[in-house]
Amino acid sequence: MSDLRDLYQELILDHNRRPRNFGPLAEANRSARGVNPLCGDKVAVHLHVEGDRVKKVSFEGTGCAISIASASVMTESLKEQSCDAARDLFERFHRMVAADDGQGADGDGMGKLAAFAGVRDYPARVKCATLAWHTLRAALDGEDKAVSTE
């Protein structure tokens, strides 16, 4: 049995209590909405992209501690990243929490995002951790439709 503290690390509880970069973004030029239809979690990710660089990012939404904290830490890791780097981070985050082959599961080199490595042991919660990231990718791609974890 994995310890609940592996999932609910202090960093996650903290970002859930005090989400960073939470709210609308006046300068946003790319936004996307995401929903998890199974549980009703909703998130919107707003980006201000200049050239190929994410200058500002915010999110809004409702969800469980895992999804709110994941969105919050995500926004912190994106600032001043290039769009390609942001996409790459999506891939690495996804591998960390969900890859079947376990590659990248330890979260090495992921900084704060490694706090979510424990999600891998809770398959039902992977969608919570990745909802904001899927929404980010849709925003980067300029897709103007709601993404779904289904």
């Binding site: 609940l4 509880l13 549980c39 009703g40 909703k42 969800g63 895992i66 709110i68 919660r125």
Partner: protein
């Protein structure tokens, strides 16, 4: 943790209902989850199966398997008899007047779709109205939306008050000259409300309107007498009633079913077929196209007989005791708020706990072997009505105990500690 004290459970139960013995009938209750005894409080999603059902399905496959209503060989005769015996068992369970009023379908969802499609399809015109309530499961919303869109009819919704009861004055106001059918839940799956369906059916009938009752949560807990209720249709699923998945029942008054066109075409639902015309079979076969879920139906028959053996009233009394204890225990916890405090409640409690999201609660409880449902319970409009994104739902069955409610409360204490006080 006071979880496995069967002797104490025994003593705590009055009225001769021996829950310890009932538990022994359900093999899965001996399982452990994350090393803890399973505390299964997700019965509104699906109930566990007694050995009587599991063994009956196995016996069908091992000794009787064959197709029904066609073979003249011995096995087919046996299977046909077992299938039709199950229909008679369900008829007794619902106290329906005739076996032919019992139609086997895939589940409550298909039963409602059948009525929306066949009754609604034949009787709705542009501007007509269908009345449902604000506490419906999506299964009693979407089928009506589909047929209303197709016909240009209008879906009208009876509001629900802050306690989770339908507002009767509004219901009466909505029953108008264009109302063609009313569809209501017997028991709300998200709030636990037991609706005054008998009264509401009588009200609709005074306006000349037939009523469908979604009995998915009602049939296992409320004790159903379709003749006493005088409902026109009653839908329920086998799997929430201790039977197999993939089977459900549509009860319909014979006159209404006879007047309705078939739902699907195929084998078993016909008398004669030529390329010019097809003559449909009599009830209930007109609505049972194709080879049905024979094993599932036979399993459902075993389930209703099992329940009858326990005594539906004894079961309901036991569940009510556990439920009353759950309401008392949970409402005494600081930060816990019940969603739905209806006048009459059956089988379940829905709640939020501080600002901890239901999913986090569900994961933490699961680590202690406690299975609850978390989320919107396929009733998003109910969540909107009560301004919550999701709730935790604990739902009870014949085998649940007060000790399991204690385990739930202890699990919630753990949630409080992990999330620093709620």
């Amino acid at each position: 943790m006071a979880r496995v004290k069967t002797a104490e459970w025994n003593k705590a139960e009055g009225n001769g209902f021996d829950v310890a013995r009932v538990r022994e009938n359900f093999p899965i209750l001996g399982e452990t989850v994350h090393g803890k005894p399973l505390v299964y409080l997700d019965n509104a999603a699906t109930a566990q199966k007694p050995r009587a059902v599991i063994e009956r399905v196995a016996r069908y496959y091992e000794t009787e398997n064959s197709n029904i209503h066609r073979g003249v060989h011995r096995l087919s005769e046996q299977a046909t008899r077992a299938y039709e015996d199950a229909r008679a068992a369900v008829r007794r369970f619902l106290n329906a007047a005739h076996d032919r009023e019992i139609v086997f379908v895939r589940g409550a969802t298909e039963a409602i779709n059948l009525v929306a499609r066949c009754y609604g399809g034949a009787n709705l015109e542009a501007g007509d109205e269908v009345v449902i309530s604000a506490m419906e499961h999506h299964s009693n919303i979407v089928p009506w939306q589909l047929i209303c869109q197709e016909k240009g009819a209008v879906l009208r919704v009876i509001p629900v008050d802050d306690r989770g009861d339908v507002v009767m004055e509004d219901y009466h106001r909505l029953l108008g000259p264009r109302t063609r059918i009313v569809a209501l839940p017997h028991v709300s799956n998200a709030l636990g409300t037991v609706n005054p369906v008998k009264e509401m059916i009588a009200d609709a009938h005074r306006a000349g309107v037939p009523v469908l009752i979604d009995g998915a949560q009602g049939a296992p807990h409320a004790g159903v007498d379709v003749q006493d209720l005088d409902c026109d249709f009653y839908a329920f699923s086998s799997h929430k009633l201790y039977g197999p998945t993939g089977v459900g029942v549509l009860y319909g008054k014979a006159g209404l079913l006879e007047a309705m066109p078939p739902y699907q075409g195929g084998g078993d639902m016909i008398l004669t077929v030529s390329f010019e015309a097809t003559e449909y079979n009599a009830l209930p076969y007109k609505f049972e196209a194709g080879t049905p879920n024979i094993a599932g139906v036979i399993g459902l028959g075993a389930a209703v007989e099992y329940l009858a053996g326990l005594g539906i009233e004894a079961v309901a009394a036991h569940e009510d005791r556990v439920l009353a204890y759950a309401v008392e225990r949970l409402t005494s916890m600081p930060g816990l708020r019940l969603i739905g405090t209806p006048e009459r409640r059956a089988s379940l409690v829905s709640f939020v706990f501080g600002d901890v999201h239901a999913h986090d609660i569900g994961t933490i409880l699961d680590q202690d072997g406690i299975a609850v449902r978390t989320g919107h319970h396929c009733a998003m409009p109910v969540m909107d009505r009560f301004c919550v994104p999701a709730t935790v739902r604990a739902s009870f069955a014949c085998y649940n105990t007060e000790a399991e409610v204690d385990a739930l409360a202890e699990g919630l204490d753990k949630v409080r500690r992990l999330f620093d006080g709620v």
